[in-house]
């Protein structure tokens, strides 16, 4: 009820999920801190040619570099913009510096500030207080970073405004068909980003029976009743990773520097790997068999715990 018709089926393919829940002009969050970054969703958004998106994410990473280069975005809200361990995000820089393919507005925080914006959004508070930014130039270039006086101590604390995306897309290891979603390994801000949003798409490596979720309820991070769509997309986070499923494709992160260095090269890559495939399944087939040999996770199973009473 809170979010959606409870009896409407939520399991759908990526095309339908993006078609129904991601609209031109939306504020969109695809989170995942290194872990569980949903490239499959970004590629479908590019294929469906969404426009004028405000993209928010701690680390724009390759995923927003691609969305920006494909002309989907008009604004970027971020806290660290680089290709981790490699260098610049060339697509983003071309948009900012050369307005190519179109201008890109920037709104910049530190990680803590953007995490706090999402926490405020999830808690439906208009702001979040944090002890930060004194002595830094960040508030001078971002007027949304303000201050507040503590009613107890009189201290000045920084504040950031709530971020409430129109839609958040979360990648996860598994969910049931109602969207009850379990994550292990790095959590990032997946939970806060989901609760902050009006619409939530969960993309998982596996859809599992409800009984699997119920057998280990402490692993559930997002309850199904706030989820609008559940998409099963194995390897949907590649070249990011999913703990227990596949490793990060670091070679691709390194290669992206060369691919994206000029606009033509990046466009050719989009033509081949995004527009040139109809779905994540085709993308995976195109990666070839060696990707599973190279990146599939080795087993390191945990033990169960007792939920009895």
């Amino acid at each position: 009820m809170s979010s959606a018709n409870p009896s409407a089926p939520k399991v759908m393919d990526m095309r339908e999920a993006v078609g129904r829940f991601v609209h031109d002009g939306d504020t969109l969050v695809i989170e995942g801190f290194t872990h569980l970054i949903c490239f499959a969703a970004a590629h479908e958004i590019i294929r469906q040619q969404r426009r004028d998106l405000t993209l928010a994410r701690l680390t724009p990473d390759l995923i927003y570099d691609q969305l920006i280069a494909a002309g989907c975005a008009r604004k970027l809200i971020f806290s660290w913009a680089g290709n981790p361990g490699v260098g610049s995000l060339h697509g983003m820089r071309r948009a900012v510096e050369q307005r190519d393919p179109q201008p890109l507005q920037l709104e910049e925080y530190s990680h803590f500030g953007l995490v706090a914006r999402m926490a405020a959004g999830a808690a439906k508070l208009p702001f979040w207080p944090l002890r930060n930014y004194r002595g830094s130039d960040l508030p001078a270039v971002n007027p949304l970073i303000k201050t507040i006086e503590c009613p107890y101590t009189g201290e000045q604390l920084a504040t950031v405004p709530a971020l409430n995306p129109d839609v958040t897309i979360v990648h996860a290891q598994r969910a049931d068909s109602a969207g009850n979603t379990q994550i292990w390994g790095l959590y990032g801000v997946q939970k806060e980003a989901a609760f902050a949003a009006s619409r939530v798409i969960v993309v998982v490596e596996e859809i599992v029976p409800e009984s699997v979720i119920r057998a280990d309820p402490n692993r559930t991070i997002i309850p199904g009743f706030i989820v609008d769509a559940v998409v099963c997309e194995p390897w949907g986070a590649h070249p990011s990773y999913a703990q227990g499923y596949y490793d990060r494709d670091n070679d691709f992160y390194v290669a992206w520097d060369g691919i994206s260095r000029d606009a033509k090269g990046l466009e050719a890559w989009l033509n081949e790997w995004v527009y040139g495939v109809g779905s994540r399944g085709e993308y995976f087939d195109k990666l070839g068999e060696d990707v599973t040999a190279r990146l599939s996770a080795k087993p390191r199973m945990s033990e169960g715990v007792n939920y009895g009473f």
Binding site: M1, P6, N180, F225, F309
Partner: protein, 243 residues
């Protein structure tokens, strides 16, 4: 009352459940017309399917086979304040003319005649849940014109109306008693909207501490079905802890 309260729930509702009668009502609704009800307890259990009647709001049976467990910080911030709760259940020692609820003290706060347990989660449930169902047997002592202490805000009162206070949730929208159902009118004052079979309206009026308005068209109230009674007595509360 458990059957009446169950009828107040719609399939798919996300319900903040209290212990006792509300818990029975929710499990009755889930077993009959509302299989997709999501039961959330302030203790952190989400999508609970207790295989025994929970004796506390943090019973281990609420966790086993639940859909999820949340910290209480998340429950209050992301679930409740986050506007994700459709229905909250509240009880209280006193409910007044505008559905303000007192579960703190009878008498003055500093020198109470009776010290009650206090708010728990009641204050924030009354503020944030989209609608609140109050379950309380009707008596003049329990339904005064004004409560001694505003633990949980109703529809209006000395601090103003909900609109003036900009409270995000709907507040108490249905008061389910042992003899009938009250509902706030447009001005926030409770009016009698349903009377159970065999109960006299005149008698109900004597059990309320103000001149009770009676709706022009009383809702029909079907008697509990045999299935409902069997479920309650034999399956949901076989030890008759709450019935």
């Amino acid at each position: 009352m458990a059957v009446r309260a169950a009828h107040e729930l719609a399939d798919g509702d996300v319900v903040f459940v209290g212990i006792g009668l509300p818990n029975l009502a929710c499990n009755l609704a889930r077993a009959t017309h509302a299989p997709n009800l999501v039961l959330i307890y302030e203790s952190g259990a989400v999508g609970a399917v207790p295989e025994r009647l929970p004796v506390s709001i943090g019973d281990p049976a609420l966790v086993t086979d639940s859909l999820g467990v949340a910290s209480m910080a998340d429950i209050f911030q992301f679930y409740l304040q986050g506007g994700r709760i459709d229905v909250g259940f509240l009880g209280g020692a006193q409910v007044d003319r505008y559905a303000n609820i007192n579960s703190t003290v009878i008498g003055p706060y500093a020198k109470p005649k009776v010290r009650l347990p206090g708010s728990g989660g009641a204050c924030e449930i009354a503020i944030h849940a989209a609608r609140v169902i109050v379950v309380a047997p009707l008596s003049a002592r329990s339904f005064p014109a004004d409560v001694d202490f505003y633990t949980s805000p109703g529809q209006a009162g000395k601090y103003g109306t909900r609109a003036q206070l900009q409270l995000p949730g709907g507040g108490p929208t249905r008061i389910v008693t042992d003899v009938g159902i009250l509902e706030p009118a447009a001005d926030g004052e409770l009016a009698l909207v349903a009377v159970y079979p065999g109960v006299d309206v005149a008698q109900i009026k004597t059990k309320v501490g103000w001149a009770l308005r009676v709706s022009a068209t009383l809702e029909p109230v079907p008697p509990p079905t045999a299935e409902e009674l069997t479920l309650l007595r034999d399956v949901l509360d076989p030890q008759h802890l709450y019935l």
